[in-house]
């Protein structure tokens, strides 16, 4: 089964912030076409009046008292940072 024409892989990869190689684009478009072809069968089902399920066992209104709790110390939280300086994460310039 070929990819549905409306799966614009460049657009989706941009939304997902992933750079794909031309080979990946061709391969994923075909493979996802197969998966979407399988998913098409969901259109056969009448879902009129059916409520959506977001969780297998829904729980509503989970409140916690607004009491400050100790978090990770800064140096521990930064231990896995790719680049850091002065207790901050270093990134390329964001605003010109």
């Amino acid at each position: 089964m070929s990819a549905p024409s409306d799966l614009n892989i460049d657009h989706i990869a941009t939304l997902a912030r992933i750079e794909l190689t031309p080979e990946e684009k061709t391969k994923f478009a075909a493979q996802l076409g197969d998966v979407l072809g399988h998913i098409e069968q969901l259109k056969k089902i009448d879902v009129t009046g059916v409520e959506p399920t977001a969780h297998g066992f829904p729980i509503y209104n989970v409140w916690a008292d607004d009491i400050p709790q100790p978090g990770l110390p800064v140096e521990v939280a930064l231990k896995n940072a790719p680049a850091q300086r002065n207790n901050m994460v270093v990134v390329p310039k964001v605003v010109e």
């Binding site: 997902a16 399920t53 066992f57 310039k93």
Partner: protein, 488 residues
Amino acid sequence: MSSELIYQPISQLAEQLASTKISSVELTQAVIARTKAVDSQVKAFNSFDEADALAQARASDERRAAGQARGPLDGIPIGLKDVIAVEGQPLTASSKMLANFVSPYDATVTKKLKNAGAVCWGRLNLDEFAMGSSTENSAFHTTSNPYDLECVPGGSSGGSAAALAAGEAIATLGSDTGGSIRQPAALCNVVGLKPTYGLVSRYGLIAFASSLDQIGPFTRTVEDAAITLGVIAGHDPLDSTSFKADIPDYRAELSKRKGPWKLGIPKEYFGEGLDPEVAAAVEAAIDFYKKQGCEIKPVSLPHTEYGVGVYYIIATAECSSNLSRYDGVRYGHRTANPKDINELYFKSRAEGFGAEVKRRIILGTYVLSSGYYDAYYLRAQKVRTLIRQDFLKAYEEVDAILTPTTPTPAFKKGEKAANPLAMYLSDIYTIGVNLAGLPGLSIPCGFSKSGLPIGLQLIGQPFKEADLLAIAHTYDRAHDWASRHPNL
């Protein structure tokens, strides 16, 4: 001596530890020695920390000597899937993205295991970010099935299942989003339990699909599953989807709940694609329950065929959102010398994620994208409701549902790797349980002629793990499939 120790269940080892017939150090050394002897073949581990494990074991022995032993898990080496955080240990999700990540804190389940005195042992391999059914998507290596090294151990918790089957741990933890505990348990001849959604805290579990993910144990016996679940279950304020359920003494309940039960057989799970040897093994299990006086009733789960489609919309949508955190900024892989912040995002993610993770992020992004949300995501959530209602309707007539865990025994490495849809369809019997939030358990029920394990799946009612475990225990104590160990 050591080969005897490594294949004993927790229930027996705990007695020997209690009577100081053995020490935790001896037991842990036996597990370490076994791992060193066989893991070059099995490749269940991403890494292990021998000194750390022995230090935990010594602490356990000292507690016991001081009369402060903490219960049946004290001193027992338990392996953890490499998506469950252990403070100071690597946490990789078998991804290049997190290849150098060291966890700054313990997951709630890790904390509970440590509080119970367990020896947290090793980081177990998986499909990258728990996405897959074979461990072939691990960025590091593919784990082998201990019963046939040419075959996959199942996935995504393939390392957890294979390590236990090979005697490299006494029990392990995994996570199950669409079958990732039950399917590898079936393929590796061990017990695997996926608890009700909300029973076990997900805090410190690397998120894949948050409305489906659940942590659970792999064990040699159902009794061991009951012991381990009793330790890891319970409400956790750090997980807002954690449920305030009463946690019974699951182990004590095993012998109190004697049945006979009403067991439902859904015809949709016994159709096309079911391997005849698997069907025969499951039929034999059904006959066993009949002889125990259980009532076997046909039930229908009419939306079963839509499960895989619903799952691959919901799971990929949730993963595309959850994995947006891996952007190369605060932790994880960062591309070298990005020219601006956008290149940092695009290239870090391109370099850090493997093919299956990218595929799922792309699919999930697509089904959530403007113009497609109603057609895919919303519709899938509605069909999810119908799938859940199918189960709840069946439970008006039966206590539990009995099915095969997988359509076939373990498949060969490489057999499905090039065809994602074929791989996805191998989860057809396990996915419904996650979509409906139910507890499900796989238990060994036989072997194929070629010597590959076969699993029986029992699906229970929400938060009625005590019943589910008791039903499984009835079968388990009358059979000894688990005693057939792999030749390694």
